[in-house]
Structures are given as structure tokens and as C-alpha cells.
Amino acid sequence: MSDQLDLAPATDLLTSQEYFVNMGPQHPSTHGVLRLVLTIDGEIIRKVEPHIGYIHRSIEKMCEKDTYRQIVHLTDRMDYLSCHINNEAVCLAVEQALQIEVPERVKVIRTIIDELTRLASHQLWWGVMGMDLGAITSFLYGFRDREMINDIFEETCGARLTMNYNVPGGLMFDIHPNFQKRTKDFVAHFKTKLPEYDQLLSDNPIFRARTEGIGYMSKEDAVAYGVTGPSGRASGFACDVRKRHPYGMYPQVDFKEVLMTDGDCFARYKARILEMWESLRIIEQLIDNIPEGDFQAPTKQVIKLPKGEFYQRVETARGDFGVYIISDGNKSPYRLKFRSPGFSNLFVLDKVARGSKLADLVAIMSTFDYVMPDIDR
């Protein structure tokens, strides 16, 4: 940690050839309104200081005045690419507090949509990753496949991005009759397209040169900074909440926790690609076996949590997402804290990016897959 506190006097900077560059808040590759103050020597990055807060909307504070039903839709607006998983975190926390046992059907549907969300998020990430490295075509290919998932979401949940499909105790509506067919179609389609992803980018020598050995993060760093999700697992940090603290249908389905040891950009890239295969496997196992039953457990109209503290973790597309609720027995939480994966993943950037080139920073940021609203909340 000592090298984080860079207390070098300002004169030191003036004598060497270092200069500052403000990357952001408006910049094509900061994926939102992130501002990075870079100290650069030529093109070599000496220091990265992330400045956040440009889209802070005080969601946690807003939660304190909302009822538990209303809180759910706010989490859509955090990590909008894994909104369903975020929703589920709040719902699971409430269900855990109220000790509601949700029907099996709800669990299965939630898990399927979780994995679809993860796929959609990774598809968008894949497209954007290519675009950040200059292969703009991959962006459109990623979006083409994501569009199918979005159609599934729109038909079943009523929205493409901010779905708000979960409610405490179950789901908002039952799945649409077309849901299973569409999902199966998508899985079949995407199984043919995912190898193309590899063919277009992973096999490309330029892409390999841009990612292999770039932005190395050790397992120790990943643990120390709390880097979770595919980024952490690419460094060998076994942190998959679906395996460590299972929820939903995950204990029952067979899937592998993707673990890599390289810890460089390519490992993070590959981890996500492999995770997409795993997600497809999970969906395939569940989609034919959606049990009949209710789509909601009976809940009171006004939900009041018992006094106490409740914590629920889920695995979003970016990593370990936690909801921590302190309840004083009222219909809104006394305090609510979100542990968002993007926040920890962002602040390891300085450690990882030092000494690499300016162009590498873009690749590194891309492989950490930042979603700014998740970080700012």
C-alpha cells in the first residue's frame, strides 16, 4: 500500500518529463463519466488517479425513504447491465429477512434470467472491448446477439434494460408463453456465434499483442483490493458467489467456476468468454425444467422488515454485489449500503496500469468492464 501514497513533492514532477492528462469526464473510452488524472511520461503511465462522483445520484439515501418494493427498481439504475441480478440481491435480502421461501418456479426463472443478463452484459463488454482496441465491427456483432436477449427481456419483463422484474417474494409477472422457445432459440443461435467471437478477436495477433502480458494483476492484489467477478477470477481469486454462497438454483445446476492464473488482460478477456459458455450451460440445464407453480410467494402489501441487519451477496456480471440492510422495523430501511463490484475494481487500476502505455490503459479499463453508475451509485 505504501506506493499508493505518493507524497513526492511537486518539484519532483517538474524536473522529470512527466505531465498530467485529464482522461475524462468526457472521453470515448472511460465508459461513462469517469475522470482519470493521469501522470504520464511520454506515453508511459506513472500514476492513475480515478476521480468519481460525476453521476452520483445518492441511491443509497433515496432507498432510506422508499419502501422495500420501491427500492428494487432503483437498483436497476446502478449496474444497468446486470439489473436483474441487482434486483434479485435486494429481493433475496428482503426474503431472507422475512424468512419467505419463494416457490421453486421463481428460483428457476430468476436464475435463467440472471444468466441471460450476464450473457447480455458480457456480449456488450465484448463489443466494447473490441471497439476500445479499434476493432469497431465487434461492437455491432456483440449488439446483434445482445438484441435477442433484450427481446426476451422485453417480452417477459416489459423493458429491455431496466427490467425491474423481481419483486420481494417472487416475480412481477409470470414468464411470457414464448419465453422458453425464445431462450432456446437464442442459446442455439449464440452457440454458433460465440466461436466467431474467438475467431474475430481472440485469434487475432494484434489483439493478442494488445492484451497478453498487459495489465498484470496478481492474486494478492486481487484479494487485497477486493477485485471480484471475472476480473478477479482471471487472477486466480476464487470469488464466485454462485459457488461460495449459493443462492437461487445455483446449488442444483452443474457449472464450472472459471479460474485463470495469468492475471493479464487476455486472461480477463478469456475468463469472460468462458463464463459465457458456462452461462449457456446453466440456461440449457434449466430452461426445459421450469417447474409449474406460483410466480410469487404470498407477501403482505406493505413489507416491514424485522429489526436487525441483513446482508445478501449475489454474483453480478462484474463481481460480488452486496446489499446490506439495517432495519429498525419500519417499512423503509434505516440504512442501506450497496457493495458494488465496480468500485473495488476501479481503484486497483492505479496499481495495475502503472508502467504501461496510454493505449494499454484503455485495454486494461476495458477488461475490468467498468459501468460508471455502478461505481458512483
Binding site: 473510452s29 476500445d132 455491432l140 494484434i206 502505455k357 493505449a359 490503459l361
Partner: protein
């Protein structure tokens, strides 16, 4: 075979008949300048449209398809928009250099197309060192880029300019060497003569393996020299927003934009001239009937067909590959392109010495 020499000469004779020699020469020059300026603008507009359309099809999109027939007037509309835009100048920018930079780039691009032989006799400036002159003039554009980057008073622009400087200075070598390989085969630097030597077959066919290698080396190096993807580091949008022309707007930006696309045309045109037989039609051995049909297609069409093919190849490269990093770019040049080029050159020299060429 169509020949434009007589047409061009008759225009010249007509002018000289009507006016005194000095005025006639001046008129001739003005005519040539106007034609080339128009060509420059039209080439730019057409290429921008083609690029957008082709890139859209690569990306499963439609591309511009509203303004005019199938969107053909889209670039005209865009050009008008750029003309009407307010020319924003950065505070503390070095005004003189800031305004000079687009002109240097345009001048370099414009000078190079004056050497391109579009068809027999349709060439403005046919000097005996044509290829050398092209290499010389195309190296001037970098000054414009460097000045633009520096005078914008913007760090991104400066980084872009620095990248561009390193890139162009090193890739010039490969461009020159790969063209030199072909000069060994053709035995001349004059563009019109180079085409004449290909009357019995294009160099890429009759030049054996070295010509093919040289073709791809030339294509790679020259794409890098004109800052086009995947070598578009000076304007890498994901890193440097827009690189050296970050601070340019309106007409001045349009100059950079046009020059970029016209450079693309020039590269394709030179590749066509040197490797693909220029305006020579495609002949297949002794098939007289087939050859006659090929001869029927006007040479200027042949030229533009070949150029479009090369441009399409360049677009295919750009819309498939990720961008390189600056050190990888230089490594590519010094570790791969240069040694390969030198090997190829020696190989070709042996070939020529043994008399196995053409």
C-alpha cells in the same frame, strides 16, 4: 485501345492556337488545377460515402440511406454542414501554424494525385522519377500533422502528433523499399513507363513471389503511412479522442478528413499502377476472344475498378482489425516489414540478375 493523348493534345493545340504562348500555358495550368481540385473534392466525397456504406455492411448495418438515392447525397450534406460550422479556434493556440497545418496536408495530398496516371495520356505530371517524387511528396504531409498536433495546445493532439511523426518517418522506409523492389523489376521510375511494361501481364502475376510479397508489404506500410486503421494511432479515438485534429472544426477539419480519404485513393492508385497494371486491361494468356472483351472496357474504368478493389481491401483491413500500440507498430516496421523488405529486395535483385522476370 482508348487513348487520351490526342484529346489532351488537341485541347493544348486549341489553347495555343487561340492565345499567345504565355497565356495559353497559364490557361492550361489553370485548367489542370481546376480539374484536379474538382477531382480532389469529388474523390473525397465519394470515398467518404463508400467507406461509410462498406463499413456499415461489414457491421450488419445499412449506413447512410436517406439523403439522395441510397444516401449518395449524404456526404454532400455533411460537407455543407462542415462548411457552415463555426470555425472554433483554441485559445492560446499558435494561430498561424494552426491555420497552416490543414493546408500543408491538403497540398501534399493534392500534389500526389497529380502524378496518378488515370489512363493513357491522362496524367498531369509525368516525370521520369515519378515514384521517387511520390515518396518524396507524401512524406511532407507529416509536417502538417505535427504542426496541427502541436499548435492545438492540447495534450491529446500533441500525443497524436508525436505518434504520427514516429510512425510516418519509419514507415516511409518500407514504402520506399517495397516500391524499389518493383523498380528493380520494371527498370524505371516513370509511372507511365511502368504501366507500359505491364502490357503483357501485371507485375503481381509475372513478378513471381517477390511481387506479391512486395504488394502486401507496400499495402501494409502505406496504410500505416496514411494513418488508416489498423494503424490509425494518431487519431485513435478510444485513447486520444480524435488525436491530432481534436481541436479542429468546420472547414479545417474537413480538410484533414478529405486529405485522409484522398490519401487512401492515392495509395490504392499507386498500388494499382505498380502492381496491378494501372489502366491495362486484364488479359488471360492466349485467349484472344476473352482478351478482346477485356480490351473493350475503357482503360479508365479498368483503373478505377482496380483502385476500388484495393480500397475495398483497405476497408476490409480497417473494419476487421484492432489497433496496434505505438511500440508494437514500430516493432512491426523494424522487426518484420523492414527485414522482409530487404530480403525481398535481394531476392528480386537475384531474380533480375538471372533474367527470370517478365
Amino acid at each position: 485501345m482508348y487513348d487520351f493523348t490526342t484529346l489532351v493534345q488537341s485541347i493544348g493545340n486549341f489553347l495555343h492556337g487561340q492565345f499567345s504562348p504565355g497565356v495559353a500555358t497559364a490557361l492550361e495550368w489553370t485548367l489542370v488545377i481546376l480539374v484536379y481540385l474538382a477531382l480532389y473534392a469529388i474523390l473525397g466525397l465519394v470515398l467518404v460515402y463508400v467507406e461509410r456504406r462498406v463499413c456499415a455492411f461489414f457491421q450488419l448495418r445499412l449506413g447512410p440511406n436517406r439523403v439522395g438515392w441510397a444516401g449518395t447525397a449524404q456526404t454532400v450534406a455533411d460537407a455543407l454542414k462542415l462548411l457552415l460550422k463555426e470555425p472554433v479556434t483554441v485559445n492560446k493556440a499558435d494561430k498561424l501554424l494552426y491555420n497552416l497545418a490543414p493546408f500543408i496536408i491538403t497540398l501534399a495530398a493534392l500534389t500526389v494525385i497529380s502524378l496518378v496516371p488515370f489512363a493513357k495520356g491522362l496524367q498531369a505530371f509525368d516525370i521520369n522519377i515519378g515514384l521517387l517524387f511520390i515518396v518524396a511528396v507524401s512524406s511532407l504531409g507529416v509536417v502538417g500533422i505535427l504542426l496541427a498536433g502541436w499548435s492545438s495546445n492540447n495534450k491529446y493532439a500533441l500525443i497524436g502528433a508525436m505518434r504520427s511523426g514516429a510512425q510516418i518517418v519509419s514507415y516511409e522506409l518500407s514504402v520506399g523499399l517495397s516500391l524499389l523492389t518493383m523498380v528493380l523489376l520494371t527498370g524505371t521510375l516513370q509511372l507511365s513507363t511502368i504501366i507500359e511494361t505491364q502490357a503483357n501481364g501485371w507485375w503481381i502475376f509475372k513478378g513471381h513471389v517477390p511481387a506479391i510479397i512486395a504488394f502486401f508489404l507496400y499495402l501494409t506500410a502505406s496504410i500505416a503511412e496514411i494513418n488508416r486503421g489498423p494503424f490509425d494511432l494518431p487519431e485513435a479515438e478510444s485513447e486520444l479522442t480524435a488525436g491530432f485534429h481534436t481541436e479542429y472544426s468546420g472547414l479545417k477539419f474537413a480538410f484533414f478528413f478529405l486529405a485522409e480519404f484522398v490519401n487512401m485513393f492515392t495509395v490504392a492508385a499507386i498500388a494499382t499502377t505498380v502492381f496491378l497494371g494501372g489502366w491495362m486491361p486484364f488479359h488471360l494468356g492466349d485467349w484472344a476472344g476473352f482478351n478482346a472483351v477485356m480490351d473493350f472496357v475503357p482503360p479508365i474504368l479498368w483503373f478505377f475498378l482496380k483502385v476500388s478493389a484495393v480500397i475495398f481491401l483497405m476497408m476490409w483491413f480497417k473494419w476487421t482489425f484492432p489497433r496496434l500500440r505505438i511500440d508494437q507498430l514500430l516493432k512491426l516496421e523494424w522487426k518484420y516489414l523492414m527485414p522482409l523488405n530487404l530480403m525481398n529486395l535481394v531476392f528480386t535483385a537475384i531474380l533480375v540478375y538471372l533474367g527470370w522476370h517478365g
